[in-house]
Amino acid sequence: MVKHSPVIGRYVTIDVDGFEYKVFYLRNGQGIPLVCQHTAGCHNHQWRDLLEDPDITQNYDVIAYDLARHGKSDPPLNKEWWKEEYRLTADHFINFITTLCDALELDQPIFMGSSFGGNVALQLAHRHPDRFRAVIPVEAAEHAPGFYLDLWHHPHANASQVCASGVWDLMAPQSPDKDRWLTWHYYSQGAEAFKGDLYFYSVDHDMRGKLGEIDTKRCPVIMMTGTYDYLTPPEATEATARQIPGGIYIEMEDIGHFPMSENYPLFSVYLKEALRLIEERT
């Protein structure tokens, strides 16, 4: 029996800081736009179950894109990108997201991202509070040093397996094998972008001393972190949320750094609470 998903994939071409990107995104639902950023070195299939969750898509227009150089979004089409080492900066990441939201004509979307996507969510709340209805930084912190490592690209090792198994421990042992190995599979596909993404995650993203400037009356911030996340452990996210006036922290039990991908049924419980809190505040 043929079974079609309601999720539709499309490309849109945008210009970001002079870089021409043909961006691939998956979309399903209706209502308030919910823009979803995958984790470093990965792609939008991490949001596969959210995209097909009718409890969410009946009220939210879910859009999960591949950041340039990830999944089906190619590197810039108008640059000789192979002649420079890729290092993602906060400025370029933020401009990419706001340009994409403009291209899709999204009205006051909610932005949700995990890991480096969570960190950029904090940056968006800080720099563009009037452009987003709210942000949901997942597995995020004000600063996350320690993962910008040369070993991700060492030519004497299998980079695909190093990246995929290097992030294995970021998932909770309780998460289903099927979903943990799917996440491993996605990570085996993104080794070339992983290290450059982590330049943003561990180096260029540094919001220490700036969190008090976030205005949650204009852009509510709901942070969520899993108890098995060793990179941004719960205490790091909680400490970050406490420094944001009006910031909210939700601890997610028995889940790790890729909650939407490693155990969506559990993650969705917390996500629905985050969306309810946003609805109350907007």
Partner: protein
């Protein structure tokens, strides 16, 4: 009662050699590593995906590529069927607990997929400390 290191070596060898996930990609899984569990030390020698030998009484100059060193308490935590947060892997325990990864870590990275699976066998096999 803690199992003897000799019994542990037999159980670990059987578990590793029969593991389907390791077996699916085992052809080049060749390396030698030390596990320092504070009160016991073992050197595991892997050849083409199989446990070739486990040295349960290493001498000071016995060679290995890389080592994992942690307290006996941490090793017991690693061996729980569902470990507590931060005891659930070598990365988490090295970032947040007392696990030290030493030696030629490039060899660890070259074998990371299978080594990670093998480390988690401790949840079924247990530890001799």
């Amino acid at each position: 009662m803690v199992m003897s290191v000799r019994d542990w070596a037999i159980r670990f060898t059987e578990a590793s050699d029969r593991d389907q996930t390791i077996g699916a990609m085992a052809r080049y899984f060749t390396c030698t590593y030390l596990w320092d569990m504070e009160t016991e030390k073992v050197i595991v020698e892997m050849v083409d995906g199989k446990v070739y030998r486990i040295n349960i009484d290493p001498a000071p100059l016995d060679p290995y590529d890389f080592a994992l060193r942690a307290s006996a308490h941490s090793w017991r935590e690693f061996a729980h069927p569902i470990p507590e947060p931060m005891y659930h892997g070598i990365w988490s325990a090295s970032f947040r607990k007392d696990l030290k990864i030493e030696g030629n870590t490039l060899v660890l990275m070259q074998n990371l997929r299978n080594f990670t699976v093998q480390f988690e066998l401790l949840r079924k096999v247990g530890v001799p400390v």
